[in-house]
């Protein structure tokens, strides 16, 4: 049996649900962001036991579980692009219009890569291994976007 339905009064209501959220950067995350915001410096945490330097900061060494929360070291604002992907789809929550390069940058003095946007080079020409430098944002927002992007040296 086919259903008989009168669709003449059907309509669609557009809605928007607002969800107020609060995101806490944590004690170490705050220090990391404040150094970028106020001093234009990128700080990492070094494990003296393993010699490994982490960025973004973490409280414990991932290898030996040593507490490294107070062992801040200043990293360079330049580094090597060790890996990348090209973001080709756009959505309103994304920071840039596609296509853009999302890179893993190993800063001078760090052992772990920092993920950030790479600009100033065509996505078709980008290669792992190039040297890039941080460009700090003129207007700060207390987020990782206080580094606006990285660009080739």
């Amino acid at each position: 049996m086919t259903m008989q339905e009168d669709h003449k009064d059907c309509f669609v209501l557009e809605g928007k649900m607002a969800l107020p959220n609060q995101y806490f950067a944590g004690r170490l995350g705050s220090r990391f962001l404040i150094a970028i915001r106020d001093r234009k410096k990128i700080m990492g945490l070094k494990c003296n036991q393993c010699g490994k330097t982490f960025v973004p900061p973490r409280e414990y060494c991932e290898k030996c579980w040593t507490k490294i929360a107070d062992n801040w070291v200043e990293l360079g604002t330049e580094g090597e692009l060790v890996n990348f992907t090209v973001v080709r789809y756009g959505d309103r929550h994304l920071p840039k219009k596609p296509p853009y390069i999302l890179g893993q940058i190993r800063l001078d003095g760090a052992d772990t890569p920092l993920v950030h946007i790479v600009e100033g080079i065509d996505p078709r020409e980008v290669e792992s291994g190039i040297r890039v430098k941080a460009v700090f944002a003129a207007k700060t927002t207390n987020t990782i976007m206080d580094i606006d992007h990285f660009e080739p040296v």
Partner: protein, 394 residues
């Protein structure tokens, strides 16, 4: 001296003679060396012999000690206060003992009373302390062209009445309440102090009724930016912590379907279109595709109302803030359960009742719908119900 857990390594050694129990240590003959590394650390030697104790600081190597304890200053204080388990510290190598650790763990609690961190007197700041510094904290650059008098009536301990006058880029505090005032705020002195020190959130204090505002609400909200934050004298500046407040939006689409679509089309014409179950005959309002009792498809629409009768109701006096936004509804408000004329008897619909009618609301009262000025065929067309005066006067 660096503090850990609210005290210092040095204080632990300084209080050692006071905590020593000579009668328990008559048989003891031992020299214990302590090495605490890091900030606030150092080397100490405790010599216990026949009921006597000698504590000394050591500059060079720890010599002549039967047992030595090596740790960092933080762990040392933590273990002494019981904040860090001694066994945990030992097994994680944060605390090393050269000698017999078991012997020490049995001996030390016997010959010393436990160490307690010195109590700190909390800094007590009253509303008076805060308000009298307001002129010093004034930021003329933020109050350009502003002219207002703000009255504070702060009740309870440390309270009083003050008027803050802002005019021509200047700010003055005067005792008592001036007349007229741009805005007057009444609250307990401790609420005011809490808001100024950041332990009470201003919005919450207001929505929960702890702050009473008379006069210009906008002026009350604007005052904060005219002043620098109050800082407790002698307090060390707190570490800045980053916390972002973000309101995320989720886009949604709600499709009415044919049955609810027909209901909304009815509202546009100021009609209540219920539907009637072919099996049990009951009217469903709002209509649904299937009778919820008989589980059969429902096709027939019938117009009910527009007037109806209140079967029962709730009156809400408590303004519970929305946990997400802190917004509160105007209280009291009433929810009336209305059976519209022509509906089957158990089909009551919940409706908001006009606020002015709440005192006269009774079970069995006749009500009429209150429509929006313009009806467009949406859920906003029907504002609620009001008592039907025409029938009331009969």
């Amino acid at each position: 001296m660096t503090e850990y857990f609210g005290t210092t390594v040095a204080d632990i050694f300084a209080t050692m003679p006071k905590r020593f129990k000579p009668e328990e240590a008559k048989e003891v003959d031992i020299a214990i060396g302590y090495e605490a590394t890091g900030e606030g650390g150092g080397k100490w030697k405790a010599t216990i012999k026949h009921g006597t104790l000698k504590v000394e600081t050591v500059d060079g190597d720890l010599t002549g000690c039967k047992t030595t304890i090596h740790t960092d200053a933080e762990t040392f204080v933590g273990v002494t206060l019981g904040k860090i388990g001694a066994l945990d510290a030992l097994s994680s190598q944060k605390l090393r003992v050269a000698g017999d650790p078991k012997f020490l763990m049995l001996l030390l609690p016997k010959i010393f009373t436990p160490y307690a961190a010195p109590e700190k007197k909390p800094v007590s700041v009253t509303a008076r302390d805060i308000i009298t510094t307001i002129a010093e904290r004034f930021r003329p650059e933020k109050a350009e062209g502003v002219a207002m008098t703000i009255g504070y009536d702060l009740t309870g301990e440390g309270g009083g009445r003050w008027t803050i006058v802002i005019r021509d880029g200047k700010c003055a505090v005067r005792g008592g309440l001036a007349d007229p005032l741009t805005v007057k705020m009444t609250m307990e002195a401790k609420t005011y102090a809490g808001m100024m020190l950041g332990t009470i959130e201003a919005v919450t204090a207001f929505t929960s009724g702890q702050v009473k505002i008379e006069g210009d609400m906008a002026a009350a909200g604007a005052t904060a930016k005219f002043f620098r934050k109050y800082v407790v004298p002698g307090a060390t500046e707190a570490e800045e912590l980053i916390s972002l407040r973000v309101t995320n939006a989720i886009e949604q689409r709600f499709a009415t379907g044919p049955v609810m679509g027909h209901w909304f089309a009815g509202l546009r014409e100021k009609k209540f279109l219920a539907n009637r179950c072919p099996k049990c005959g009951r009217t469903q309002i709002p209509p649904r595709e299937i009778c919820a009792w008989c589980r059969v498809r429902v096709h027939e629409f019938v117009e009910v109302g527009p007037k109806g009768v209140v079967t029962h109701f709730d009156i809400v006096y408590f303004a519970s803030p929305d946990p997400l936004t802190g917004a509160v509804r105007d209280t009291p408000y009433a929810t009336a359960y209305v059976v519209f004329d022509g509906s089957t008897e158990r089909e009551a619909v919940t409706m908001d009742l006009k606020k002015e009618d709440i005192p006269r609301l009774k079970e069995g009262a006749r009500v009429r719908p209150v429509w929006a000025e313009v009806t467009t065929g949406s859920s906003r067309d029907l504002i609620g119900v009001a008592l039907d005066e025409q029938e009331e006067s009969l």
